[in-house]
Symmetry: C2
Subunit: 253 residues, 2 copies
Amino acid sequence: MEKFEIVKITPEGLTGIEKGVSEEVPLTIEVNGSEIATILASPFHIDDLARGFLFTSGMIAEISGIRSLYIDMERFRVVAEFEGNLKDFVFKRIYTSGCGKGVIFHNPIDVIGKTALSNGLEITAEKLVCLMKQFLSRQTEYCDTGGVHGAALASSEEIYVTREDIGRHNAIDKVIGASLAAGTGMADKILLTTGRVSSEIFSKVLRARIPVIAALGGPTNQAVKLARVTNITLVGRLRGGRGEIYSGERRIL
Amino acid sequence: MEKFEIVKITPEGLTGIEKGVSEEVPLTIEVNGSEIATILASPFHIDDLARGFLFTSGMIAEISGIRSLYIDMERFRVVAEFEGNLKDFVFKRIYTSGCGKGVIFHNPIDVIGKTALSNGLEITAEKLVCLMKQFLSRQTEYCDTGGVHGAALASSEEIYVTREDIGRHNAIDKVIGASLAAGTGMADKILLTTGRVSSEIFSKVLRARIPVIAALGGPTNQAVKLARVTNITLVGRLRGGRGEIYSGERRIL
């Protein structure tokens, strides 16, 4: 966070205060010698972001695919090396880079081709409501700045990892990257997010084969259709003891 | 909106209901014969989105720069023709397309080079709070789905235009596009947004030369710095009669 002197509007009038604001840095990602993207992100957990981004963007099939990962936090530069060439990815990235919600290297609709997930874990609605409450209570930077999104990976019992970023895509990439690095299996876990669920957010969860996504925001119709085709449980607007199960209700007891 | 049969989680238990969900469509934008981007967007006010996108992305300096605009809502395709070539834009788009928050055709930091805005309008904090309340009360789709962001252009007295989209960048592009098409001057107006304010959101407002941006969410440090350099009033977390003036407080009485 960076501190600024600002003026607060209150019912009693205007008052000067010092305020912490979320930092935003342009993170350039270089893969096999090519600069492939510049992501505006929060300047922490950059290694998780890089791993998650390379994985959810479809560049690597598993964490072991990264031969080397060098992070320069002075010039906000990630230099990654892995086997294979970038041609296909770069072509597709250019084609879809206009998306309003982050860079993707494949058409989200492609994911329909993937095999559906097995039923995996089950969780009670009460427990899911409770996990979301715990998750939100851990959003440290959000409380201070209101400028970031959060994401977390949880089992049906507890939260494993929580990450924040100015971009909701980045927060999810960080959680997935941290889970890959820690070797945490995701096939029996739940992804929690403070954001809305578009087809792109959904495709990250599907790529990580996480069977349940629970969001504070609502989903788009494409995310609901993809969730139903791939047997992923999608719960939206989960707050205040209420929520909406758009897909895979068999996992919610 | 598309209707789905879903299961609602309530303190009393699970119940089946029919629920409207925000639609998401992949909108392909073709300029001078080249496909330049595919934007995931809400399928309404596409003409405003196209005009606003071409303007805020820096492709056209004014609305008259668009020679022709053809919108195919069956194939979700926008075909625009304007003078000049795309080479520079396309190069820069590739370079920055990794941003977590929408495609941009120039580095947001470039905008610092632009001349600062004159002081223009003034507004009382009470009136600004009231405009945000009015704006939020007009978020029709958000109330139903929780899946969209909203933006609006207002004077110090009233709201001129309100738009919604699954992407917060798109909602702002729609408002700017609609204002350009209507010939509404923006130099004495206020941009209202339900989102957070990153450097990219800020650069859209600066490009439209709108002197005041008021947001429900918080800004990033880069947005605050850009606002201070360019003399734009940036108010964040404006809700419940409270708000935070990060820049240009001289316009808030």
